[in-house]
C-alpha cells in the first residue's frame, strides 16, 4: 500500500493536434495501435500501486468516459478508493465563467479533502512513458522538497518543445526557474508537468490561487511559487514522449517502430492497460509484406505495410500499400490503395485504388468515419 493518490488533470491545449481532437479530448486520442493517451499515465499509476485516481475532466469527454467506464480494465473498480471521474461542478463557483483547471480542482475540492492518502501526484495525459512513481515518491521524501517536478532531457532541435516549460536547475536538482520554452534548440530540461507534493500543500495552493483570482494550475500555483517553496526536479531518464501537436503525435508514433522504445514503453516497469475489445489475433494472408510495423489484434492483412501502425480491427486488402502511416481502429483500406504519411482516424474507409499522400512533416489526416 502506497500513501499516494493520483490526479490526472486534463487541461492540455489540444487544438494543436487538429482533426484528431475535434470530437475528443487529448486524453482519449488513440495512440500506439490500441491505446488512448490517458492509458499510459493511468497504467503507470496503477503499476505504482496507486489505488485512488481522480480524473479531472473539462469538456469533450464522451469518448473518454466510454473508454474508462468503471475503471475495471485498470483494476480500479474498487469498493474502497478506485477511479473517480470528476467533471467541473459549479456549486463552489456558481455562475462563473470556467477559466481554467484550478477552478475545476477547487470545485471538486471535497474529493481531494476526503482522500486518505498523504501525498498526491498530479499529471496530465499528454506524456507517453513507462515509469514507476514509487521511486519518485522516495526521491521526494529524501529531498524533503515541498514539490518535486518531473522533467526529461528533451532534444528541442528535433522534437516539438513549443509551449513546454523549461526548468532552470540549481545545485542538487533544486528548481530555480520555470519558464516557457523559447525558440532555442538543443537539449533542454523539459518539465513533463507531473508534480508530487503533500495533499495538504495542494489544497493550500488551490485555495490561494482561487483567493487571488488565478486559474491556471501550472502557471499560477506552481511557477509563481517556485521561489517561495522548495521545488526539486526529478530527472526521468527513460523514454517520455510529449504529444502536443499533430507533428509530435506523428513523430512519436513512428518512434514506436524502434523495438527498444517498444520494449521500454510497453514492458519496462509494468504493462499498459486499456479497454479490452476481445479481438482475435491479427491475421496475415498469402503474399503479405509487412515490415517495420506495429500490427494490433483483429487486423486482417493482405497487402503491403511498411513503417506503419495498424490499430485493432484494420483491414488491408490485396494490392494496397501503406507506408509511414497510422491507421486507427476498424480502418478499411481497399484494394490497390496507396497511402503515404497519412493518419486515418477511426472507421475510415478508403475505397479501391485511391492514392493519398501527406508529408512526413505534415501528415494528411483523414477524419473519423470518412469514406474516400
Amino acid at each position: 500500500m502506497i500513501d499516494l493518490m493520483g490526479i490526472i488533470n486534463l487541461n492540455e491545449a489540444e487544438e494543436h493536434v487538429g482533426e484528431l481532437s475535434r470530437s475528443r479530448s487529448l486524453a482519449s486520442i488513440p495512440f500506439a495501435g490500441r491505446y488512448r493517451l490517458i492509458d499510459f499515465v493511468l497504467s503507470n499509476m496503477v503499476n505504482s500501486e496507486i489505488s485512488n485516481v481522480g480524473i479531472f475532466i473539462q469538456h469533450k469527454y464522451r469518448s473518454l468516459v466510454d473508454h474508462l467506464r468503471s475503471g475495471k480494465d485498470w483494476d480500479l473498480a474498487r469498493k474502497r478508493d478506485g477511479l473517480f471521474v470528476l467533471p467541473p461542478a459549479y456549486t463552489r463557483t456558481p455562475m462563473q465563467v470556467h477559466r481554467g483547471d484550478v477552478e475545476n480542482l477547487y470545485s471538486n475540492l471535497d474529493y481531494i479533502y476526503q482522500s486518505r492518502q498523504k501525498y498526491v501526484i498530479i499529471a496530465g495525459a499528454n506524456i507517453v512513458s513507462n515509469m514507476d512513481y514509487r521511486v519518485i515518491l522516495e526521491y521526494h521524501k529524501n529531498t524533503e522538497a515541498d514539490i518535486t517536478v518531473l522533467y526529461t532531457k528533451a532534444n528541442c532541435g528535433t522534437h516539438d518543445c513549443v509551449r513546454s516549460n523549461i526548468l532552470g536547475l540549481g545545485p542538487e536538482g533544486r528548481v530555480l526557474t520555470i519558464s516557457e520554452f523559447k525558440d532555442t534548440g538543443g537539449y533542454q530540461n523539459m518539465s513533463i508537468d507531473m508534480f508530487i507534493m503533500k495533499k495538504d500543500l495542494l489544497i493550500e495552493l488551490i485555495n490561494q490561487c482561487i483567493a487571488r483570482g488565478d486559474y491556471d494550475f501550472v502557471k499560477h500555483c506552481i511557477i509563481k511559487n517556485v521561489k517561495k517553496l522548495k521545488v526539486y526536479g526529478y530527472h526521468h531518464p527513460g523514454y517520455a514522449a510529449r504529444i502536443s501537436s499533430l507533428q509530435s503525435y506523428f513523430q512519436h508514433s513512428m518512434e514506436l517502430l524502434n523495438p527498444h522504445i517498444w520494449k521500454e514503453l510497453f514492458f519496462k516497469s509494468g504493462l499498459i492497460y486499456t479497454k479490452v475489445k476481445d479481438e482475435a489475433p491479427a491475421k496475415y494472408i498469402h503474399e503479405t509484406e509487412v515490415t517495420n510495423s506495429l500490427i494490433a489484434s483483429g487486423c486482417y492483412v493482405e497487402g503491403k505495410v511498411e513503417n506503419s501502425i495498424l490499430f485493432r480491427g484494420v483491414k488491408v486488402h490485396k494490392g494496397a500499400y501503406i507506408k509511414n502511416s497510422v491507421i486507427m481502429q476498424k480502418g478499411n483500406i481497399g484494394p490497390g490503395v496507396i497511402l503515404e504519411n497519412v493518419i486515418c482516424d477511426k472507421d475510415v474507409h478508403i475505397t479501391a485504388n485511391k492514392q493519398l499522400k501527406g508529408e512526413y512533416s505534415y501528415p494528411l489526416v483523414i477524419k473519423k468515419g470518412r469514406v474516400i
Binding site: 500506439a32 495501435g33 490500441r34 497504467s43 475495471k72 517502430l257 523495438p259 517498444w262 520494449k263 514503453l265 510497453f266 504493462l271 499498459i272 492497460y273 486499456t274 479490452v276 475489445k277 476481445d278 479481438e279 482475435a280 489475433p281 491479427a282 491475421k283 496475415y284 494472408i285 498469402h286 503474399e287 503479405t288 509484406e289 509487412v290 515490415t291 517495420n292 510495423s293 506495429l294 500490427i295 494490433a296 489484434s297 483483429g298 486482417y300 501502425i309 495498424l310 490499430f311
Partner: protein
C-alpha cells in the same frame, strides 16, 4: 434466487490423455488454441452469446490452470449477480467423497447446484470442442418438440462415423436408435456431446443410474440408451457449421491450421459472435524490416525478426533473425532464437529454442509427424529434435531452472 430457463453444465474434468504433452500439466479445456484462446473459451462464449448466464463448470483433472483461468468469469461476462459461472469440483459428503465416476455422475453429484436455480432445462456441454453454436436455437427446438432430451448432431463422413456416437432418426428428428462408436454405423449423424434435458426428467434418470451397479454413469453409454428404451421423446437437433473435436495432437494441430487462409470455416472475426477470452495487456506485435510473414495468425506482444509461414503465434513470442517457423504452433512467451527452424511443431509456453536448433520430424513416405515440445524447456544451441519431448523438473537438464 430467480428461476432460470436453462442452466448450462460444462464437463471440463477430462484428462484428454491422447493430447499427450499438451495435457500433461493442465486439463484439456485449458489447452491454448488459435493464438489467443483456450478451448473452454468456445463453449463459454457460446453460452454468453446464446443468452445463457448460469454455467457450472465441472473440474477434476489438474484444475489449477483451468480454475484460475475461469476466475469469476468476467472474461465471458459471466460475473453476474444472479447466476454466472461456478467452478464445481468433486467434494466430500456425509458418506465420504469420491471423484466423478462419469459424465452423468458428475451432474448427479451437483444436482443441488442445479436445483438452486430451479431450471426447466439443463444444457450439457463438454469443454473440448471448437465450434460456434447458438444454444438458444437448440433450446427453442427442444421446447417446440416438447422433448425430454435433445441431442445436437452433426453429419460426419460415413467412414469416420465409427469414432462417434451415431443417431438414427425418423423424419421428425425423433431419435429411434443410438449407438456409441458402432463398428458398422447405420447413419452419419454423430452426437456432438451437447444435450438439452428437461431437468425433472433428467434428475429422475440420474438418481436411478446412480444406484445402478452396472452403469458406467455416462450420458452416451447409460442415460441416453435408458431413455430410449423407455420410449422417451428424444430429438436430434441438426447443427451445420464448423465443429472439431480436438481429441488428438493431429486434430488439435489441424484445428489450428484450419483457422488460416482467406475464408476459414470458423470465423473468429465476426463481431456479432465474438469468442471471448482473457485479454492480456500486450502492445501490438512488431514486425521488423527482416520479418517475412505469410498465411499466419500472430497475437499481440510478439516480436518478429524472422520468417513465419502457415503458423499460429500466441502472445509474447520472439522470433529471431534468420529463424524459419513453418506449419507450427508457438505458445505464448516462447523464445525462438536466430536461425532456428521449426516445421510441423508445437512449441510449449515459454520454451526457449537456442540458436540454430531444428525442430522437425523426418518425412516418411511424404508423411511428417508433429513434434510437441513441453512448456518451460530450454533447448541448447544447434540441437536437432525429431520427436516430442517433455521435461520433468527439477533434475531434467532440458527444463528451465527457477530464476
Amino acid at each position: 434466487m430467480h428461476k432460470k430457463a436453462c442452466v448450462a453444465m460444462l464437463l471440463a474434468g477430462g484428462q484428454g490423455s491422447r493430447l499427450g504433452i499438451l495435457t500433461q500439466k493442465l486439463a484439456k479445456p485449458a489447452v491454448p488454441f488459435g493464438g489467443k484462446y483456450r478451448i473452454i473459451d468456445f463453449p463459454l462464449s457460446n453460452c454468453n452469446n446464446s443468452g445463457i448466464d448460469t454455467v457450472g463448470v465441472l473440474t477434476q483433472y489438474k484444475p489449477l490452470a483451468l480454475n484460475s483461468y475461469i476466475g469469476i468469469g468476467s472474461a465471458w461476462d459471466l460475473d453476474r449477480m444472479n447466476g454466472g459461472v461456478f467452478v464445481l469440483p468433486p467434494y466430500v459428503k456425509e458418506q465420504g467423497g469420491e471423484w466423478y465416476k462419469g459424465t452423468a455422475d458428475a451432474i448427479c453429484q451437483n444436482s443441488n447446484f442445479i436445483d438452486r436455480f430451479n431450471p426447466e432445462t439443463v444444457l450439457i456441454l463438454s469443454g473440448d470442442h471448437i465450434y460456434k453454436m447458438d444454444y438458444s436455437l437448440m433450446l427453442e427446438f427442444h421446447q417446440k418438440q416438447q422433448a425430454d432430451a435433445t441431442i445436437a448432431v452433426i453429419e460426419v463422413p460415413l467412414d469416420e462415423a465409427s469414432r462417434f456416437g451415431i443417431m438414427n432418426t425418423d423424419n421428425e428428428q425423433r431419435v429411434i436408435d443410438f449407438e456409441e462408436k458402432p463398428a458398422e454405423p447405420k447413419s452419419n449423424l454423430a452426437s456432438m456431446g451437447i444435450y438439452i434435458f428437461s431437468w425433472p426428467v433428467l434428475k429422475k434418470y440420474l438418481f436411478e443410474d446412480e444406484v445402478n451397479q452396472n452403469s458406467t454413469h455416462d450420458f452416451g453409454h447409460d442415460i441416453i440408451p435408458k431413455m430410449l428404451a423407455d420410449k422417451r421423446n428424444l430429438r436430434a437437433y441438426s447443427f451445420r457449421g464448423y465443429w472439431k473435436d480436438v481429441g488428438t495432437v493431429e486434430s488439435y494441430w489441424q484445428a489450428n491450421m484450419d483457422l488460416l487462409g482467406e475464408r476459414p470455416e470458423l470465423n473468429l472475426y465476426d463481431s456479432k459472435w465474438r469468442i471471448y477470452s482473457s485479454n492480456p495487456p500486450r502492445p501490438p506485435h512488431y514486425t521488423s524490416t527482416t520479418a517475412k510473414i505469410t498465411n499466419s495468425i500472430i497475437a499481440e506482444g510478439c516480436l518478429i525478426l524472422g520468417e513465419v509461414e502457415n503458423s499460429v503465434l500466441f502472445p509474447d513470442v520472439y522470433i529471431g533473425p534468420g529463424a524459419k517457423v513453418k506449419n507450427s504452433i508457438i505458445m505464448s512467451g516462447a523464445h525462438i532464437e536466430d536461425h532456428v527452424v521449426t516445421d510441423k511443431a508445437i512449441i510449449g509456453r515459454k520454451t526457449v529454442l537456442k540458436q540454430g536448433t531444428v525442430v522437425a520430424a523426418k518425412k516418411l513416405d511424404g508423411q511428417q509427424k508433429i513434434v510437441v515440445l513441453d512448456i518451460d524447456m530450454i533447448i541448447p544451441p544447434h540441437t536437432t529434435i525429431e520427436a516430442s519431448l517433455s521435461c520433468s523438473p527439477p533434475e531434467d537438464a532440458l527444463c528451465k531452472r527457477e530464476e
